[in-house]
Symmetry: C2
């Protein structure tokens, strides 16, 4: 099931062509996106997602529509979606057609969440650590590298996922050239140590996590300590639990890291998932 919404508030056939061949989102990966989980008609962390979309757009000098236009895209697909439960909404903004009138391309595509995604939440994931090739030191002085922007230029993220699959793994955690933990290609890394949750800082060249932020909020309320600070790859295997956190997959327990089985964190996963879900009860 899919639904497509356009900025004028209408819906359109998602299987029909809507994009020109010279759209700079297509030919240059020159655009930004967000994917939002909607449960029973309520988008989760919509403000945080739209804040991050605007942050990414600023990093690309990309004009994005006003907040009410973006919110209307969500309202349109949510209202038109026929069933209760979970759905995902991806909103995309590109620089528009290269030979066009300068209008950015904007749309929201709502889609059903695949059964294997739901399975992944429950079963956890085996993960390989792959080098992302940059040193965190470069992030601040080379803004043109767009590190930490959620752009449409995701070919490296997709190639890393394929590389993991070829190694028999489910997911990837990227590390920096200095050995610090970065993020997954489409997720944030969170570790649990005692009653403390840790995640690497956005200043290391990664996306600020919307779901990680919600989880930290929920955990703090339940008495957990949280730390946003650099994390070494070597610390992953020593943690009580390692999790990949993202909007659609929610919280995924890492059960195997580079072929080594980690301590069973199923009970921790259940507790954190309960805290996260209670945020929206």
């Amino acid at each position: 099931m899919r639904l497509l919404a356009l900025p004028d508030g209408t819906t359109a056939d998602p299987d029909a062509p809507h994009i020109r061949v010279d759209d700079l989102g297509l030919t240059r990966g020159d655009g930004v996106f967000e994917t939002v989980l909607v449960v029973d008609g309520r988008p989760r962390e919509l403000t945080a997602h739209l804040d991050r979309l605007e942050r990414s757009a600023r990093m690309l000098d990309l004009p994005v529509p006003a907040r009410d236009t973006l919110e209307r895209l969500f309202a349109t697909v949510v209202a038109a979606w026929p069933s209760p439960g979970e759905m995902a909404v991806k909103v995309v903004c590109t620089r528009g057609a290269e030979y066009g009138d300068g209008t950015p391309t904007v749309f929201a595509l709502a889609f059903s969440i695949e059964p294997h995604t739901v399975e992944r939440r429950r079963r956890g994931a085996s993960v390989v650590v792959l080098d992302r090739g940059f040193d965190p030191e470069v992030v601040e002085r080379a803004p043109w590298l767009l590190l930490g922007a959620k752009t449409l230029s995701y070919a490296v993220n997709m190639a890393a996922q394929r590389h993991a699959a070829a190694l028999g793994a489910d997911e990837v955690i990227f590390r920096a050239a200095d050995g610090s933990v970065l993020e997954g290609p489409t997720s944030t890394v969170v570790v649990a140590e005692g009653r403390t949750l840790r995640t690497p800082p956005a200043s290391s060249g990664i996306l600020p996590g919307t779901t990680q932020s919600a989880l930290f909020r929920a955990a703090e309320r339940a008495g957990w300590a949280t730390k946003v600070e650099p994390l070494r790859v070597g610390e992953l295997a020593e943690a009580d639990g390692v999790f990949l956190v993202s909007s659609i997959r929610k919280i995924v327990r890492v059960h195997t890291l580079d072929g080594v089985v980690l301590p069973d964190a199923t009970a921790l996963w259940s507790e954190l998932t309960g805290l996260y879900e209670a945020e929206y009860a």
Copy 2:
């Protein structure tokens, strides 16, 4: 003037939408491309371009059409183009629609070359050197970084160009973290020292240049020596000439590097341009 050709041998309206919103070329920058110069109906270096397209596709595990299908795309737009002189043809292959039948998206878009591009050849360019953030040492052991693949994920290349423009410069030369010269966002770097041309090797994580290769072939025939070897940023200012070489802009003389005016290489530029053009006479 633009013309769009599809793999079935037909042409289509380039201003009409032809791409679905879930095309992985759009949503993930997951595809490859080449841009070829055509002069008086003859594509330049077509075999080298299609070889490189296939090389890029292999790096992405991306299926691309058979060679004769790709050649037909060129034949279609070249035959339909109404005027003599120069035109550019961009061929794009993506992984196709995420929720489709698995068919890759393939098209060729022919377009007129802008007057400012022709001007750039004659006037040369001011260039800033920008950090590309990786060490060449990572290239071979991290193939998922797709360094040296010509993918649709060009957001960093576009951001670097915008950064240069904000600094008042025309173009960018990327350097690696170790201070070696890489390439321009859409060009190959060539320096002249005496009667020797030098360019960095593809193994440093850059595209093998089709126009650079043609220029070297032409120069060798005229008695020049050529070297494909690492080049340090510091060597640029000491060369007799620094050039950015690409299919559509051909050979562009760098007249200013990081704000410092370089020795006048206009005569060298004329000589090299003459040699390059003679390849196709």
